[in-house]
């Protein structure tokens, strides 16, 4: 493997390793009070302690698992749902009758959903469904699926006119099989390429919801609620309890988008 690719993929691999094995090796418990509050970073506590006395380093490392899990599941759900919806809408949009009407209405609904701010949708959905990892994944998927569906729909509209579809129809393929075997592989790739961006967005939005206090609740380690707890400390001059989770969040998003850019080409 060329060394450049290794260089780009390494940070993401490190993040995944931390997410999987990190909680096993942290020096202190991420959920319990272990020391006096507001200790500056030092030998005993590498990232210091927050205003409740929890070790920031252990919590930052342990949060990686929760945040990454949410983001991976969201990216999966949003991509799969996006492909399914994009296919549905794209293939049926110009049909007459009830199917076409439904497809066009769904298309409009997706556009309207994209008009709302992500944080607002997330707030309301978490308010309705609670703040556990599954409900967070559902909420984030709601926010991020419309864009995936839109990308796939554009491709489907292009692929519909291709000759090999007519050839398959003449050869006797049923419509459903045709869609699966010919349309899907040729139109799903924009959503798959975009999946790393969905991943990054999921981490950021989950962090924003955690920051507002409506994501995973403390003491569950999660970067968003760590930053929320650390914000008043930062206003008082104690920068460490908010800075380290913020850096971890930014680095993870950056590492994953670097992987995406590398695997799928740079479109800047």
């Amino acid at each position: 493997m060329p060394w450049r690719t290794v260089l780009v993929l390494a940070p993401a691999a490190v993040v995944v390793l931390i997410a999987v094995f990190g909680p096993l090796f942290v020096p202190y418990s991420p959920r319990d009070v272990v020391a006096s509050p507001d200790l500056a970073p030092g030998a005993q506590h590498w990232f210091g302690t927050d205003s409740a006395g929890l070790d920031v380093f252990s919590r930052t490392i342990a949060s990686t698992q929760n945040d990454l899990l949410i983001a991976v599941l969201t990216a999966l759900v949003a991509t799969v749902a996006g492909i399914a919806i994009g296919l549905l809408v794209g293939m049926n949009e110009s049909r007459r009758g009830i199917l076409g009407l439904l497809a066009r209405a769904l298309s409009r609904a997706l556009d309207l959903l994209q008009a709302l701010p992500a944080v607002v949708i997330g707030l309301v959905l978490v308010g309705f469904f609670g703040a556990s990892i599954p409900s967070l994944v559902v909420s984030l998927a709601f926010i991020l699926t419309p864009n995936q569906a839109r990308l796939v729909r554009t491709e489907v509209l292009r692929v519909r006119g291709e000759a090999y579809l007519d050839a398959a129809r003449m050869a006797g393929d049923r419509e459903f099989v045709l869609v699966l075997r010919h349309v899907l592989p040729n139109s799903a790739w924009p959503a798959v390429e975009n999946a790393t961006l969905v991943f990054g967005s999921a981490i950021v939005i989950a962090g924003a919801l955690g920051f507002l206090g409506v994501g995973l609740h403390p003491p569950t380690p999660e970067w968003g609620n760590m930053i929320a707890v650390g914000a008043p400390s930062a206003a008082a001059g104690r920068w460490w309890s908010a800075l380290f989770p913020a850096i971890a969040l930014a680095l993870t998003v950056f590492a994953m988008s670097a992987v995406g850019r590398r695997l799928f080409g740079d479109d800047q």
Binding site: A105, R108, A109, L112, Q114, A115, L116, P117, A118, V119, V120, I121, L123, V124, V126, G127, F128, F129, V204, G207, A208, F211, L212, G213, V214, G224, I227, G230, A231, A234, A235, A236, G237, W239, A242, L243, A246, L249, A250, F254, Q268
Partner: protein, 344 residues
């Protein structure tokens, strides 16, 4: 007749969108698990009559069709129900809080637009300048740091370290009285009243949150505008202007006018981001507004308040998109409904 009324077609679609959106919200609330009466009563035992009365009070009597019609009627008459937590009318709260949040977002949009115009023209007219290069990279880094991280960093730098900003608590100094309500927008109300201490306190409390919003979201506009300007500079129309001897100002203005539509099209989306950012900034700076209301509603599982919140934000967003579309159609006649463009 239709030549000057092209915007009517776009206007006609707005209520349709609003109704579809309201219906979608209705069905979303229907999806919430659990029986609302049971969760609100906290599991106390109720007689069947009490149960029915509670259901009627929540608007849940009748079948889905009747509920939907009643709900739509309420939405149209702006009756958003009463909060389940404290019984206050949701619509009344929104009347106070919406201008507060909207003010944050609108000021940020105005500042970002001005900055985008200035930076865009500067970067394109003087591309080799070192400042230009710096601004270009800043614009490209758009969206790298989430707004809440940026907010905490900004508070730390400008309040804790430099003491240039007052404590991030509220819209104005807690010793001062609130402004008398005339427009509902706090800053305008303070300006209209003769209370200069209040006005200056508000401005000093406002610049830091606005800084956060502008730094977080202006780069997206700038990136787009710089790219559009670059394309516009190399276009045939520009060369025609220059060749026909137009003044430098006229050429610059024509470049700008052709580059604006793509950027203005993003205005609606960016305003949406600003609204979301305003919710976060309100939390960060302990300002009253819709963000505070929504977060409280989530912690209390107040689904009527959340429904009202979603309807109001959705309505505002759709309205903003409509306005953005009309402005864009004013700028670029080719985008008006019913216009066919031949050739390139």
């Amino acid at each position: 007749m239709t030549r000057h009324l092209w915007w009517l077609r776009r206007l006609a679609v707005l209520p349709v969108h609003l109704v579809i959106f309201a219906i979608a919200v209705f069905f979303l609330v229907k999806l919430v698990p659990g029986d609302p009466v049971r969760s609100l009563s906290g599991g106390q035992t109720m007689t069947p009559e009490q149960y029915e009365a509670a259901r009627t009070a929540l608007g849940l009597s009748g079948n889905v069709g009747e509920q939907l019609l009643r709900y739509l009627h309420n939405v149209v008459t702006l009756d958003l129900g009463n909060s389940v937590a404290n019984g206050t009318s949701v619509a009344t709260e929104m009347k106070t809080r919406l201008p507060q949040t909207a003010e944050l977002a609108i000021i940020a949009m105005i500042i970002s637009s001005i900055l985008t115009l200035l930076v865009g023209f500067f970067v394109v007219l003087k591309p080799k300048n070192i400042v230009s290069r710096g601004l270009r990279s800043y614009a490209r880094a758009a969206g790298a740091l989430p707004d809440f991280c940026l907010g905490v960093a900004v508070i730390f730098v400008f309040y804790s370290v430099l003491h240039w900003a007052p404590a991030p608590i509220g819209r104005y100094d807690s010793l001062l009285n609130p402004p008398p309500r005339s427009t509902g927008f706090p800053l305008i109300d303070a300006a209209l009243s003769s209370d200069t201490a209040l006005l200056s306190s508000m401005i000093s409390h406002l610049w830091l949150p606005e800084l956060v919003l502008v730094i977080a979201f202006a780069p997206m506009l700038m990136k787009l505008f710089i790219r559009s300007l670059g394309q516009s500079v190399g276009a045939q129309a520009t060369r025609f202007r220059i060749a026909s001897g137009a003044s430098r100002t006229t050429v610059a203005l024509s470049i700008g006018r052709r580059a604006l539509p793509a950027t203005v099209a993003m205005f609606g989306t960016i305003f949406g981001f600003m609204l979301g950012g305003a919710v976060i900034v309100e939390q960060l700076f302990a300002m009253p507004g819709m963000g505070e209301y929504a977060v409280q509603a989530v912690t209390r599982a107040d689904f009527i308040a959340l429904q009202g919140f979603l309807l109001v934000v959705g309505g505002v967003s759709l309205l903003v998109f409509f306005l953005v579309d009309v402005i864009n159609m004013l700028l670029d006649p080719r985008r008006r409904p019913g216009v066919t463009v031949e050739g390139a």
